[in-house]
């Protein structure tokens, strides 16, 4: 019998230590970008971060909590419109309004959950889509929100362009870092353990005392907050919002592609997926709808052939975990007798 | 020649080995019993025979053909039919429909709805009701009848006495005797040892996934059985 006093539960891996250093390096690099004064690069980074956060949130829902939602665009739209209302109509500082818009989205998520949580599986997915459509139509029929034509964010007009760009950029970097750290910490916590148990087996986790319903609800709300805040940020950047764009299914389509190609159920996956997404977009920018066809075909192929995604392949092959969310059991073999 | 010949069958659930080199033979027309404690591998063995488990082709030979690992629905075509553990009656189908679905492959043979109703009159009385409305014993009759509707050459019967009153089990085994008299080959898995000793021509006892004892009932003393069943030295 192995001497159990020599058994340790570990989380850090060599890759994670390297990853931590790399992460710090990335943050430093991102902080330096504004000095270069290239607003094109800043906008690209903002876009990268917004897609990454959307992907992380969807990954949290589907990859960890088993909630396959195709209605997250509801919260992108709600967050965006909440920003307009908070900043233009209620006079709040637009930068402060971004996270507040996320809170508004979360409130709607609570209401949404009372409906869609009555479904499970594939019908849950369609249900979330149906609700997103309802939000879109309601907004498109509301005169105060600009109906089908939408609205423009006017609260930023008094600001100098550089100030607005810098503020948006800083907010984006902050959001990106906060999202990754938050998801990482959540997964390491009890909630995270419960989540992964629920993902693997709902009945089993129930029998162990995990409150499945509450766990799923918390995750749904957290994801809505992240998605809504990102939606607000997107429209702080774009300045112009309309219902068809803000509530478009494309937000979900891009997110799903990113997560599936990158690796579902891992923290590193969405990062890889977003990078691939941007590369493909650059490469295929002249080909219009062929781009979407390829995206769809790749996602289908990934689900059929390598469901663990690109990162999953790498992680399995070389046993790398940059974000150590799992606990590993290590035994010290030196000196012990079996 | 034997109808069913199993050669050194080993089976795994992932990394876990459930069967170790099991060899077994059943001649045409015979009734053979497989007994053993819970977890001894009896159901796993039947599942391997019925196509629910992946095993090497040559380990299971039926009527001279290697059929190991073939899909369940193909084996029914060959005449290997299982009456599964737990009855598994279809709730969306009536009693009669449950019987009819047993004849899905339309194999020719002596069994028909009328003959099943003759054997189990209570099924005729309840023919229009949902299959799961029946009592446990009646459901077991329905499950056996459903299996017979496929006109099997080899009928695999998995634990029919579970949860049923002795008098009900008695009538079930009487029915099985009728099946045997028809010439159908029967392989019965049972926990109730005394039952099978009266109706089987040969008995295999499983323990921990391997054959611990194989003999005719006449030569199975209480001591030999207990030793094989429980592993007492």
């Amino acid at each position: 019998m192995t001497d159990t006093s020599r058994v340790r539960v570990e989380r850090t891996t060599r890759a994670s230590q390297v990853g931590l250093l790399a992460g710090l390096g990335v943050v430093v690099a991102l902080a330096a970008v504004p000095r270069l004064g290239d607003s094109g690069v800043m906008r690209a980074i903002i876009e990268f971060i917004t897609l990454l956060v959307l992907a992380q949130m969807w990954n949290l829902l589907a990859g960890y909590a088993g909630l396959v939602s195709i209605g997250q665009q509801a919260f992108v739209g709600l967050g965006g419109y909440a920003l307009i209302v908070l900043a233009d109509d209620l006079g709040l500082n637009p930068f402060v309004a971004v996270p507040l818009a996320g809170l508004v989205a979360t409130m709607f998520a609570l209401a949404t959950a009372t409906l869609v949580f009555r479904f499970s599986g594939g019908y849950f997915a369609v249900g979330t889509w149906a609700v997103a459509e309802v939000y879109r139509l309601l907004v498109a029929n509301t005169t105060a929100l600009g109906r089908g034509t939408g609205r423009t964010l006017k609260a930023v007009f008094p600001l100098a362009r550089e100030t607005r760009e810098l503020g948006t950029y800083a907010l984006a970097v902050g959001l990106g870092a906060a999202a990754i750290i938050a998801v990482y910490l959540a997964l390491r916590s009890r909630l995270g353990l419960g989540l992964m148990a629920v993902r693997d087996s709902e009945p089993a986790s129930r029998s162990l005392g995990v409150d499945v319903f509450r766990t799923k609800l918390v995750v749904y709300l957290v994801a809505a907050f992240g998605t809504g805040t990102t939606g607000a940020l997107i429209y702080l950047n774009l300045l112009r919002i309309s219902p068809d764009a803000a509530f478009s299914i494309n937000w979900t389509a891009y997110t799903i592609f990113i997560v599936v190609i990158g690796g579902l159920g891992t923290l590193e996956g969405p990062i890889v997926g977003t990078a691939v997404f941007f590369l493909l977009r650059e490469a295929l920018s002249d080909y219009g709808s062929w781009y979407m066809i390829l995206l769809g075909a790749l996602a289908i192929g990934a689900m059929l052939r390598f469901p663990q995604g690109l990162w999953g392949l790498v992680a399995e092959r070389w046993d790398i975990r940059v974000f150590p969310v799992q606990r590993r059991v290590r035994t010290d073999v030196s000196g012990g007798r079996r | 020649m034997s109808l069913l010949a199993v050669h050194a069958l080993s089976a795994f659930y992932g990394d876990f080995q459930a069967l170790f080199d099991v060899s077994l033979e059943v001649a045409e027309g015979e009734t053979v019993a497989v007994i053993g404690a819970n977890g001894a591998g009896k159901t796993t063995f039947l599942r391997a025979l019925a196509g629910a488990l992946a095993v090497p082709r040559a380990t299971v030979v039926f009527d001279g053909q290697p059929v190991g690992g073939q899909a369940a629905h193909r084996l029914v075509d060959l005449g290997i039919v299982m009456v599964p553990e737990g009855r598994r009656i279809f709730p969306s189908l009536s009693v009669q429909e449950n019987l009819l679905v047993g004849a899905y492959r339309r194999r020719p043979g002596p069994w028909s709805l009328d003959r099943i109703y003759l054997m189990f009159p209570v099924l005729a009385e309840r023919r229009g009701q949902p299959g799961t409305n029946l009592s446990g014993g009646e459901q077991q009759m329905l499950a056996i009848g459903r299996g017979l509707m496929a006109n099997p050459r080899l009928l695999l019967v998995d634990e029919i006495s579970l949860g049923l009153a002795p008098i009900v089990v008695q009538s079930l085994y009487q029915a099985l005797a009728g099946v045997r008299d028809e010439g159908t080959t029967v392989l019965v898995v049972e926990q109730d040892v005394s039952r099978v000793l009266t109706m089987a021509q040969r008995v295999y006892c499983f323990r921990k996934g391997a054959v611990a004892l194989h003999d005719v009932p006449a030569r199975l003393t209480h001591e030999r059985l207990a030793a094989a069943y429980f592993g007492t030295a």
Partner: protein, 290 residues
């Protein structure tokens, strides 16, 4: 009078929705699969009809006779080659793959047929109306669609309730593993179900295309309406799907009569109300389906 007319229009529209919903309900019942590309397949069928009409100069109703078997074969192949491999892996792969299919079909249609809106013209029948007396008139084609829905539903009910194949569908839906023990080839069975589903939704798509204009992006709304009809009527009940379609249709026509932009939205709101008040639907059988 206007309201009676609205009601009748809504009921007939419900027939069309029932056609859309039937295929969805069938495959969910048999193999617990939700096909997110369901609506897009109906639009694909409509575009195929457009192509055939252009190439051969035939009436759309004749094109329908060619398109329906093609779509059926497509469904059979799709299930056998792609979707059967996803069963038993939880809902995520099936949702994602069918969602991916939806994106591919829509964009494929956009590339092939451009973003122009289309309409199928069967030569007059779609505008002809039947006077019912009292000033009330219904379109011939709407009536034809409704009757088609009734006939198909009755046929499907017969198939499922009285034939060996129908018994196999129900058995596989109850317990796939035991169905295999009966000699039922589940893979082939699911493919047949999908073939039926796409064949029926092809009819629905062409009927839609005759009735109104459509574009490459019209698919997702069809899926939503089909889904809503199924939920309102109750899972597991074919006739419930018809009633669900009718309720949805009436809600939409009523809402549109109140205010032009509110038709679809009213339908959605009625759907949500049913979901809140009677989540199992109005006609769900006592057996729980999930």
């Amino acid at each position: 009078m206007i309201w009676l007319d609205t009601l009748v229009q809504g009921i007939l529209l419900g027939g069309l929705y029932a056609l859309f919903a039937t295929g969805l309900s069938l495959i969910f019942g048999v193999m617990r699969l939700v096909n997110l590309a369901h609506g897009d397949f109906s639009i694909l069928a409509a575009f195929l009809a457009v192509a055939l009409v252009q190439a051969l100069g035939v009436n759309p109703l004749v094109a329908l006779l060619l398109v329906v078997p093609v779509m059926g074969a497509l469904g059979y192949g799709l299930q056998r080659v792609v979707l059967n491999r996803l069963l038993g892996r939880g809902i995520l792969p099936a949702v994602l793959v069918t969602f991916g299919l939806s994106i591919v079909i829509q964009n494929g249609l956009l590339e092939t047929f451009s973003a122009d809106s289309r309409r199928l013209n069967p030569g007059g029948i779609e505008t002809a109306s039947l006077a019912l007396g009292g000033g009330l008139a219904v379109g011939w084609f709407s009536l034809l669609t409704f009757v088609t829905a009734l006939v198909l539903l009755a046929g499907l009910q017969l198939l499922i309730g009285r034939t060996a194949l129908g018994r196999a569908f129900r058995a596989a839906s109850d317990d796939g593993a035991t169905a295999a023990l009966m000699g039922i080839d589940n893979g082939r069975l699911y493919a047949l179900a999908m073939a039926l589903s796409l064949a029926i939704v092809a009819i629905a798509g062409i009927a839609l295309g005759i009735r109104t204009t459509f574009t490459f992006a019209s698919g997702p709304d069809r899926l939503l309406f089909a889904f809503e009809a199924v939920i309102i009527g109750g899972l597991g009940s074919l006739w419930g799907t018809l009633v669900g379609g009718v309720i949805l249709g009436v809600a939409q026509t009523t809402g549109a009569r109140l205010s032009p932009g509110w038709g679809v939205l009213t339908g959605h709101l009625v759907f949500l109300a049913v979901l809140l008040l009677r989540p199992s639907g109005l006609f769900a059988p006592s057996r729980r389906v999930d």
